[in-house]
Symmetry: C2
Amino acid sequence: MHSLQFTEQSSSNGVVEREFTVGDIPGALWSPASSPPAASVWSPASVWPPASDRSPASGRSPVSGADRAPLVLMGHGGGTHKKWPGMVGRAERLVRDGGFHVALIDAPGHGGRPRTAHDEQEIAALYAARSAGGGQRAAGEPEGPVVVRYNLHLAERAVPEWQTTLDALQALPEIGTDGPVGYFGLNMGTAIGVPLTAAEPRISAAVFGMFWPDPLAETAKQITVPVEYVLQWDDEHIPRESGLALFDAFASQEKTLHANAGRHKDVPRFEADSAVRFFVRHMGGGTAAS
Amino acid sequence: MHSLQFTEQSSSNGVVEREFTVGDIPGALWSPASSPPAASVWSPASVWPPASDRSPASGRSPVSGADRAPLVLMGHGGGTHKKWPGMVGRAERLVRDGGFHVALIDAPGHGGRPRTAHDEQEIAALYAARSAGGGQRAAGEPEGPVVVRYNLHLAERAVPEWQTTLDALQALPEIGTDGPVGYFGLNMGTAIGVPLTAAEPRISAAVFGMFWPDPLAETAKQITVPVEYVLQWDDEHIPRESGLALFDAFASQEKTLHANAGRHKDVPRFEADSAVRFFVRHMGGGTAAS
């Protein structure tokens, strides 16, 4: 098993950001700067671990797990990376408003990671589909089939990387093996997150969104943990019926669809806050440290 | 114009509840007990009027409007009334967490209000449809067509009553004519609220949900204010496609669908909190008192 090596650390506004590697996988971990975590905007009582476990009287030490907080894994979208501004913003909200640890890793072929010949070929195919589509994207070869094919290929490489990374993260005393784990990723983050969540019993709640159902829906049928699913009602890439079909496929008893008017890139910022509340609801209360 | 007469007043946990009549329409008004309103769980700066307008230095007096807060009109569901526990709970959340005034009136034929011969006939038809449907509700005559027909009839009587009530509410110094007005109602509250919002330019944001699109969708096409729409993904009365069709009909540029797994009566409690945030977003900032 690869252990996690921290390479850089910085801190601002109550959030500590640490870059790390696990073998050749580069990642970043955002954590509350102080313990107990910054007060939640909901109820402090709903933040895990319970306040009573975080009091000085309970003997706080990194090794005892008294500083522990639940972990959210976050998957970035296609063409971006672990430090993409939109990702960092969401990570910081999860830390500040939910008291969570948040981890991102660069997907295969993304960030500074090497590309295979297959990566180069698929990226070229994607650009070709885009320029064939022209400004309107409606005519010509659509990029959807290339995105689906390439993202699902990347998921096959990314799922074992996430599992190795999760092993290493849970070996950190401030995370540990007994706390809840969530997953949050849209677009390619959903293409990777759905098979990861289906394969990984440690993940107990997930926020997904904006991907095509075929063939991902077959994997979604194996998922039973609570799911929040985000889609754009006027998405110019993913037909509305396709988005609804993927949401419908999840076997989860608790699942919520958030559909907002607007095009693919217009997901409202308040959905990031909604994701924080979702994780607080499903990972914040009840699940005490052992 | 009928003026508003208060008949009873009580107060608990920071919320003042006053029952009132406007002519023969009975209603209830929930308001923040103190001014400035209880701190919002989001940003106090997002509560209308701006904090600067509520400071003692600005010369607070009921007549000057310095105590004013935005108003949310709330419509109850079929067979219930203005003091139904679920309605009171939502009203209190809007007051405590959003700093709003909240008004409910009994719909025609509901609460203690007299029923016409037509009311009695339609209620009998509804019970007949239910018992014909049996325990499963799938077989036999469905109740949907009766609910649609009767609720839309009630809406024709209720819309002018709401407009008269809104006139009277805006004559109160703590509400006034220049603040934003929202509408929140599911089921029959949507059957009444959609034509009310289409007819009433004073309403600037609305939360609707769980009604049939035919013929309500034609009216929804006239609505352009921000809308949050709630539906149940496994509603045993309203087919999924019907719920989606009504959401689709709103002409609003800003609209959000919240669809939750579960049957008709299983709307999660967190949707009430979401409605508070929706009204804070759309009525809380920017709109200063004149």
